[in-house]
């Protein structure tokens, strides 16, 4: 009984109150954060679906005041995104392989890992300026290739990182077993390790696609935009993000409405890709 009397009731109450206040704050900030995000998604879906119809997919971008769609921008976006991944993925996977498989005693590997992480969160507009300097200035014109290259530079560090992480998950005993059978190192990597980490590597590539399909800043100085269907990657190519940017900033209501539809399309495809990745990883385990 004596021990109980020594408990400072006031202190206990104070601790409880402080705890209650802080936790209430935590719940309030969660609601506050979610409030903006729900508001954003709600307006996006509301406006987007209102202006999303079949003509968006079938007609090219219109001049101001006329009706039209986003067909050439959608096609252009798909094209430069895939070319970007096509350029970035092989290099990324191989670089990730080096970091995971061949760099045990390498002193340069930590540096590469570090630089890769910096590149991963470097401002994408800088990559746009870089590609402008090395491609657009020498060739003298904006082009789809330049846009693809800029996107490849954004995709590369993501793929390097996930490939390395995923290859490291493959247990060492698998490598040792394959080597013990007399397989050369490259065959162990290509036929055994890659196969074991297939789902993971693919995940990284999908994440990279999701990331670059909404990138706008680096495309402003590289792929630019095109009012019409582009016949080759050697000329400016219409793409959704830049079209959204130009249309949304314009004073014409038709253009702004198309921008909403385009924004909805991008958001849905990015969310879909991320959801696919998640289910992919869950079934992979």
């Amino acid at each position: 009984m004596n021990g109980l009397r020594n408990i400072d009731v006031n202190l206990y109450r104070k601790r409880r109150i402080v705890n209650f206040l802080i936790l209430t704050c935590s719940i309030l900030t969660t609601l506050f954060g979610l409030f903006w995000l729900v508001w954003l998604l709600a307006t996006l879906f509301f406006h987007g679906f209102r202006y999303l119809d079949l003509s968006v997919f079938t007609q090219p971008t219109p001049p101001p005041g006329e009706s039209g769609g986003l067909a050439n921008a959608i096609a252009g976006s798909v094209l430069i995104t895939f070319m970007g991944v096509f350029l970035g993925a092989p290099i990324g996977v191989l670089a990730g392989t080096f970091l995971s498989e061949y760099s045990i005693r390498s002193r340069i590997a930590p540096v590469i890992r570090f630089v890769n992480d910096v590149l991963l969160s470097a401002p994408s507009i800088i990559l746009g300026v870089f590609v402008y300097e090395i491609v657009v200035v020498p060739t003298g014109h904006f082009s789809g290739w330049a846009g693809s290259l800029a996107l490849a530079l954004i995709a590369l560090p993501i793929i390097v990182r996930t490939t390395e992480d995923m290859l490291k998950l493959v247990p060492n005993t698998v490598r040792e077993a394959a080597c013990a059978l007399g397989a050369p190192r490259w065959k162990v990597t290509v036929a055994i390790i890659y196969r074991a980490a297939k789902a993971g590597i693919l995940t990284g590539i999908l994440l990279a696609i999701a990331r670059i399909s909404g990138e706008t800043a680096p495309l402003l100085f590289t792929a630019l935009n095109n009012q019409f269907w582009s016949s080759s990657l050697n000329e400016p190519v219409a793409n959704l993000p830049v079209v959204i940017f130009q249309f949304a900033m314009s004073p014409y209501e038709d253009w702004q409405n198309l921008a909403w539809a385009g924004a909805l399309l991008i958001t849905i495809s990015v969310l879909m890709l991320n959801i696919i990745v998640r289910t992919f990883l869950r079934t992979g385990k």
């Binding site: 601790r15 409880r16 402080v18 705890n19 936790l23 719940i27 309030l28 900030t29 969660t30 506050f32 954060g33 903006w36 995000l37 954003l40 307006t43 996006l44 406006h47 290099i91 191989l94 670089a95 080096f98 061949y102 760099s103 590469i112 570090f114 630089v115 890769n116 910096v118 969160s121 470097a122 401002p123 994408s124 507009i125 300026v129 870089f130 300097e133 090395i134 530079l153 590369l156 050369p184 490259w186 065959k187 990597t189 990331r211 399909s213 909404g214 706008t216 402003l220 100085f221 993000p241 959204i244 940017f245 949304a248 909403w260 924004a263 991008i266 958001t267 969310l271 991320n274 998640r278």
Partner: protein
């Protein structure tokens, strides 16, 4: 004979494959060096003409070809500070809610939702800011801000001015909303690193949830939390599209946060393709160079701190 031959072939392919991966890995290194070199070359004419005063000059006049980076640097830093003031506490609260308070069935859905929101491209945030948030903010919040905060001594000039909707403050807020999901998921990952045994023993001797957070979770993840904030700051500094829509693209230095301004990235986005003349383009690239070094420093620090946390984790477990 054929065994020997295939052995030799295997060894050759081994060397080819190993060096192939090595070349690709060095390419990553080469890219970052190439970015620095090409930015330096591009910025050289402007740096040569204006010298170190480029950084402190607030002049930005394409007509007279006088350029200085102060307005853009100021806008970049101020919008990022506003974003951090909003983003850090809110994402911190969200992370605490998810790791400590949330009922188990709600945990996964909220965590997934936050991560999905972090993946939404920034142009969507910018567009929403322009069409929805800026008009609302200009009509309802800004008049109130300039009536109350604008009348205070000292900080008054920061908050006075016409309610335009777009401006530095709006850009900072949009940026803050944008970094919330990103930072919340990084914070959550950090808090999950804390070994449950530590938390349980604290709860076991009668600590409240807040005391567990303050005395166990935070000290354990301290370095990582600072690293995560730096990572968010790096994002905010370099973010282009979320800002460009709502900042107003004005090249004057204003005291009031309600007035339009510019950040480094929004200057680039708005003016780069229209810039005529070597000095104009070169000055814009010089801005890009400054941004690159700024974010490089911040990100390097973030990486260093986060690596220290993982090292500690390795020792303890």
């Amino acid at each position: 004979m054929s065994i020997v031959r295939s052995g030799i072939r295997g060894r050759i392919l081994d060397v080819v494959f190993a060096n192939g991966t090595r070349i690709c890995a060095f390419l990553v290194l080469l890219i970052i060096v190439a970015i620095m070199v090409s930015l330096l070359i591009g910025a050289w004419p402007a740096l040569k003409k204006f010298g170190p005063s480029f950084i402190i000059s607030k002049e930005w006049n394409p007509v007279t070809e006088q350029f200085g980076a102060l307005v853009a640097i100021y806008g970049t830093v101020v919008t990022s500070i506003i974003a951090m003031l909003i983003g850090v506490p809110v994402s911190f609260g969200i992370a605490i809610f998810i790791t400590e308070l949330c009922p188990a069935w709600l945990k996964q859905p909220i965590a997934t939702a936050i991560e999905l929101l972090a993946a939404i491209p920034s142009i969507i945030y910018g567009m929403w800011g322009l069409f929805v948030f800026a008009p609302f903010f200009g009509d309802h919040i800004e008049p109130w801000i300039s009536d109350t905060l604008g009348r205070l001594p000292v900080i008054g000039p920061l908050f006075s001015g016409p309610p335009l909707g777009i401006g530095v403050l709006t850009a900072g807020i949009i940026l803050g909303i944008m970094v919330i999901p990103f930072m919340a998921s990084v914070f959550r990952d950090l808090f999950e690193v804390v070994p449950p045994v530590l938390k349980e023993s604290a709860y076991g001797i009668g600590a409240t949830t807040w005391e567990v957070i303050k005395k166990i979770v935070l000290p354990y993840t301290k370095v990582g939390v600072v690293g995560a904030i730096m990572l968010g700051l790096g994002r905010a500094l370099g973010e282009t599209m979320a800002v460009t829509f709502v900042i107003g693209n004005a090249d004057r230095l204003e005291t009031s946060l309600l007035m339009p301004g510019n950040t480094i990235s929004s200057s680039l986005a708005n003016q780069f393709t229209e810039a005529v003349g070597e000095i104009y383009t070169s000055s814009l690239i010089a801005l890009g160079l400054i941004l690159f070094f700024l974010t490089f420093m911040v990100l390097a620090l973030a990486k260093y701190l986060l690596i220290r946390l993982t090292l500690k984790e390795g020792v303890r477990t």
